[in-house]
């Protein structure tokens, strides 16, 4: 079971209080995680990546296993620790705004 931690504002928007748990086929990628999130929580479409271009929104980053994966190809398989649920996949909002 994949574990995903959303920023607080997106948890509110999706009406979830804790981390998401997603059941995905291997290989697990950033793209497959985002596809699953948007399928299960349609209100989050457009808030993490662009509706059309699928580009990550500029003030969001993706982290896993203490690595910043934001600039990796979204189709790159994620570490086994993510696929197994040992480690969560983080979607993090930039700390900005003063």
């Amino acid at each position: 079971m994949i574990r995903v931690i959303l920023p607080a504002h997106l948890r509110t928007l999706a009406h979830v209080e804790d981390e998401l748990k997603l059941d995905l086929q291997c290989p697990v990628t950033t793209c497959s995680i985002l596809d699953a999130i948007e399928e299960r929580y349609p209100m989050l479409r457009g808030t993490i990546r662009d509706h059309v271009t699928k580009q990550r929104r500029p003030f969001l980053r993706f982290f896993a296993c203490e690595e910043d994966l934001s600039l990796e190809s979204p189709d790159t398989p994620l570490p086994e620790a993510i696929a197994s649920g040992k480690e969560p996949f983080f979607i993090i909002g930039a700390i900005a705004g003063g």
Binding site: H9, P42, M43, I48, H51, R57, F59, L60, G93
Partner: protein
């Protein structure tokens, strides 16, 4: 007994204030959508319980919220939690994609940037929502970069009325200091298909065919800060207002100058008269007196606060030129707030109520057409928009 419901959008959430017809005591609910910028929320004239709200964030982009019970509960249309793959909602209520289809004839992809070069159109946020006068499921959205979208399914999906952005003058439009936003949408109650919109900094436009074609309506405007001060487009219009009974008469607060048109925008003339400053953002019309209008003078475009530190609404009962300061109940010293373009509204109770919100987080109301004012809530986040519903 009639009631008033005030819808307040702020930098950090929405607030809903309700009162009986006396408008002395107010209940405040909120913040709704805490932490998000609420550029605008507005109720449907056809169904007062139907509200639309524009919820935005620099991090997460645009979200469109809808209420069917007067703001008690909200939903993202088509975006409810889905656990079944079949019949999944489309979740496109926040999908504002510019029309580049071949059917529009000439997809327009650039406008003028600050440095004079051409720049691609990029959606940033919804500035203004204008529900249809007759159908709760139909509403218009004015967005940045400037374009107008329409929903006919209660906000589930939005489609651009691309004839506006496709106007031949499009490449000459340029952003104002706040971005290139379409911030004003007026629906003509007497001429179906006629709408007026305004863009900073392109100017005012009118359609007579429901949004298929548009014409600039800026004749008579003079803007010293642009190369050709009387150009067809390029004017920084801050707000337009009309009275429902007389939709051919328009009032405009331009960057500088308060203007009036008596012919549906075909021509404008200045009515700034004796205002202490003719710079400002909002303008509105009394609910029962079509010649009574309100503005809030601001010192200048580099000093976004009232002249002399005195917060004064100015009222003209002659459709402009002759203005009186309204000060009872408003701070008359050390006041350096601003009042933004969408942050003034009027109710239609027997004694017309006038409302405005400030960047200091106060919402002031006058239950007697502007003679006396009091804050009905204070210390909110900076107020971006104020709308009022008169409920029976």
């Amino acid at each position: 007994m009639s009631k008033a419901r005030v819808l307040v959008g702020t930098r950090k959430g929405a607030f809903i204030l309700t009162s009986d017809g006396k408008r002395q005591n107010w209940d405040v609910s909120g913040p709704h959508f805490a932490g998000w910028e609420i550029y605008h929320l507005k109720g449907s004239p056809a169904d007062p319980n139907r509200l639309y709200a524009s919820q935005t964030s620099g991090w997460f982009g645009q979200v469109l919220q809808r209420s069917s019970d007067g703001g008690k509960t909200w939903e993202t249309p088509g975006g409810g939690v889905s656990t079944a793959p079949d019949g999944m909602p489309t979740g496109e209520s926040n999908k504002f994609v510019y029309d580049t289809s071949a059917e529009t004839g000439k997809p327009l992809t650039t406008h003028q940037w600050y440095d004079g070069t051409q720049h691609p159109w990029e959606f940033k946020r919804v500035w203004h929502l204008e529900p249809s006068l007759t159908d709760p499921d139909t509403a218009y959205a004015g967005v940045e970069d400037a374009a107008i979208f329409r929903t006919t399914d209660g906000g589930h999906s939005w489609h651009e009325l691309s004839g506006l952005r496709g106007h031949a003058s499009g490449p000459l439009w340029q952003p104002g200091a706040g971005g290139m936003c379409l911030h004003t949408i007026l629906l003509d109650p007497k001429h179906p298909g006629r709408m007026f919109i305004a863009i900073s900094a392109a100017g005012a436009f009118r359609t007579d065919d429901g949004g298929k074609t548009w014409k600039p309506i800026n004749r008579g405007l003079k803007s010293n800060m642009i190369p050709d001060g009387t150009a067809e487009v390029g004017h920084c219009v801050h707000r337009i207002a009309m009275h429902r009974s007389r939709p051919d008469v328009l009032f405009m607060q331009k960057h500088w100058d308060v203007m009036r048109s008596d012919d549906g925008g075909e021509s404008w003339h200045e009515v700034s008269g004796n205002l202490p400053s003719d710079f400002g953002f909002p303008i509105d019309v009394h609910a029962h007196e079509p010649e009574t209008i309100y503005v809030v003078p601001i010192k200048s475009d580099s000093e976004h606060y009232p002249p002399d530190g005195k917060l004064r609404v100015y009222r003209s009962k002659t459709g402009g030129n002759e203005w009186e300061a309204l000060t009872n109940g408003l701070p008359q010293k050390n006041c350096y707030v601003n009042v933004l373009r969408d942050a003034m509204a009027v109710d239609s109770l027997d004694s017309c109520g006038v409302y405005f919100g400030t960047t200091g987080g106060q919402v002031y109301a006058s239950p007697d057409g502007g003679d006396n004012w009091a804050p009905i809530v204070r210390d909110l986040p900076a107020v971006l928009s104020v709308e009022v519903q008169t409920l029976s």
